[in-house]
């Protein structure tokens, strides 16, 4: 009763730390009775807690005793399983070494206790109040679609992809992939190296149909140094002109950036494709067929990913932009309530 009274006297400060590939984004929201009174976001060139970040966070947390620091679980050992029964959970993960919670008694999400401990220790100086699962974030973000559709739901972060397949709010399959460190990622890229190179060129040109390119012609294309000789090819001469025009418009850096983005999107596509294959290989889901994929875009993926999914996997792709910080704030607020 007394603590409730004190709570009304102070502002609530929500601090949210999102760790990206090479930096951390710290967002701070100060809430009063009337709503948000202050909102700040700052990037730090570190993936752990450094002195600068500590000072930045401390400046806000000192304003009120009612401050909450939230993290999105970035550990690769996290996952989700379609049951809430402890007995059945052991089929999906080690229940003794993992911490798990049920989501509306429908399915469970889990993560390694050791990883959680390491994460908490990493931020021990400022302390952590909430660590949220990417699956919860995804489930809340697509709540309207999950309840009424059978589809694949994907959360795309800079270094992680969280994939789940729901059939009218029943979880069928879930996977959390560390794009940067996943051991399968190299295999996937090796397997599709040849085709990816072809697709990279095609994506840039945007005019050549992938299916119409013969293998022989692609062999010639592999020799980039002999680009002049490609002028002889009728089909390719038009393409070259477009490339030249693009080169005039874009500087070298932007080309690299676009190429990097494309490469990452292609890698994501491969992960999604592989995950869907894994799902189909599962005997329990033999009669299920996925027609749609809903993507929560947390980083701003290019249209290539959508195009690949549509053209290669014949999926209906719906992309919804997600402000991860805002969603984590919502989770933290929901927890505080």
């Amino acid at each position: 009763m007394l603590s409730r009274f004190f709570e009304t006297l102070y502002h609530k400060v929500f601090v949210n730390i999102v760790v990206l590939k090479s930096k951390s984004v710290v967002s701070v929201e100060t809430l009063a009775k009337g709503g948000v009174i202050d909102s700040v976001e700052e990037s730090f060139a570190t993936t752990t807690l450094n002195e600068k970040m500590y000072n930045f966070i401390s400046a806000y947390t000192k304003e009120s005793p009612y401050y909450y620091i939230s993290l999105l679980d970035k550990t690769p050992s996290q996952g989700a399983c379609p049951t809430c029964s402890k007995k059945n959970m052991s089929k999906y993960f080690d229940t003794y070494s993992s911490k798990h919670f049920c989501y509306y008694s429908r399915w469970a999400y889990y993560t390694s206790k050791t990883d959680l401990h390491i994460l908490q220790k990493e931020y021990a100086r400022i302390g952590v109040d909430f660590i949220f699962s990417s699956f919860v974030l995804l489930a809340r973000f697509f709540k309207d679609k999950i309840d009424t559709n059978m589809a694949m739901f994907v959360l795309i972060e800079e270094t992680y992809i969280t994939i789940s397949i729901f059939d009218n709010s029943k979880l069928l399959f879930a996977k959390h992939i560390d794009v940067k460190n996943d051991k399968n990622s190299d295999e996937l890229l090796i397997e599709d190296q040849d085709s990816s190179e072809e697709e990279l060129d095609l994506a840039i040109s945007n005019e050549v149909d992938f299916d119409e390119v013969d293998n022989d012609e692609l062999d010639h294309l592999g020799d980039i140094e002999d680009l002049d000789s490609l002028d002889d090819l009728d089909e390719f001469s038009d393409t070259k002109d477009i490339e030249e025009e693009l080169n005039e418009k874009l500087d070298e850096t932007s080309i690299h950036t676009k190429a990097d983005t494309f490469s990452e999107d292609y890698q994501r596509f491969l992960f999604i494709q592989k995950t869907l294959n894994d799902f189909y290989k599962n005997d329990e889901q033999a009669d299920q067929f996925i027609e749609a994929v809903y993507i929560a875009d947390g980083i701003g993926v290019s249209g290539d990913l959508k195009r690949y999914l549509e053209e290669e996997m014949f999926l209906n792709v719906y992309i919804r932009n997600m402000d991860i910080n805002a969603e984590v704030f919502e989770l933290a607020k929901a927890e505080v309530k």
Binding site: S3, E7, P65, L116, D129, S133
Partner: protein, 188 residues
């Protein structure tokens, strides 16, 4: 529903600074409270003492009143005793004088001392003895003197002498004597 893997830390407004502030204010409030309690106790004690003093005062006043009454009574008794003593002294002197006054030849059988008079019963050998030896001094003392004689078988006479002092004349005499005393003192 629980969404986070970890529980939020317990939030409290009582930071170390606030705790210090509360301790300081707590001690101050305690001191004020104790001072207030002490003053309340003292006030209560003072009221009790006041009541006791008022009661004592009333009791003492009552005692004083009683003492005054007793003193008045004692004074009255003293005055009465002095009066009686004076009267007794006067009476003693009167009786002494009376017996000194009676000659040896006359025998008194009874004497009644009245407020303003004297009644003597006795036996005298003759009227002359009585008239010369007893009636003459009695006349000098009393204003009115009456004598009656009854003869006895042996030839003596039984007498009854009734003597009164006239009070008006006595007051005049006293006044005269006082005036004379004052005059003597003035001359002195």
């Amino acid at each position: 529903m629980k969404l986070s893997y970890v529980k939020p830390r317990r939030k409290s407004v009582f930071t170390s600074e606030i705790q210090l502030l509360f301790v300081f204010f707590g001690i101050t409030i305690l001191m004020l409270f104790f001072t207030y309690a002490f003053l309340l106790y003292k006030d209560y004690k003072f009221s009790q003492d006041m009541q006791d003093i008022y009661k004592n005062k009333a009791r003492i006043e009552s005692n004083i009143e009683k003492m005054k009454q007793k003193i008045t009574l004692v004074e009255k008794k003293n005055l009465l005793a002095e009066k009686i003593y004076t009267q007794n002294s006067v009476l003693k002197d009167s009786i002494t004088n009376l017996f000194d006054l009676v000659p040896k030849r006359i025998t008194l059988s009874e004497a009644q001392l009245l407020k303003n008079g004297l009644v003597l019963y006795g036996v005298t050998p003759s009227k002359d003895v009585y008239n010369f030896m007893l009636q003459a001094p009695l006349r000098s003392i009393f204003h009115k003197t009456y004598s009656s004689f009854y003869p006895l078988k042996n030839g003596w006479l039984r007498f009854v002498s009734t003597n009164y002092v006239d009070e008006d004349e006595l007051e005049d005499e006293i006044e005269n004597s006082l005036e004379m005393d004052e005059g003597v003192e003035d001359e002195g």
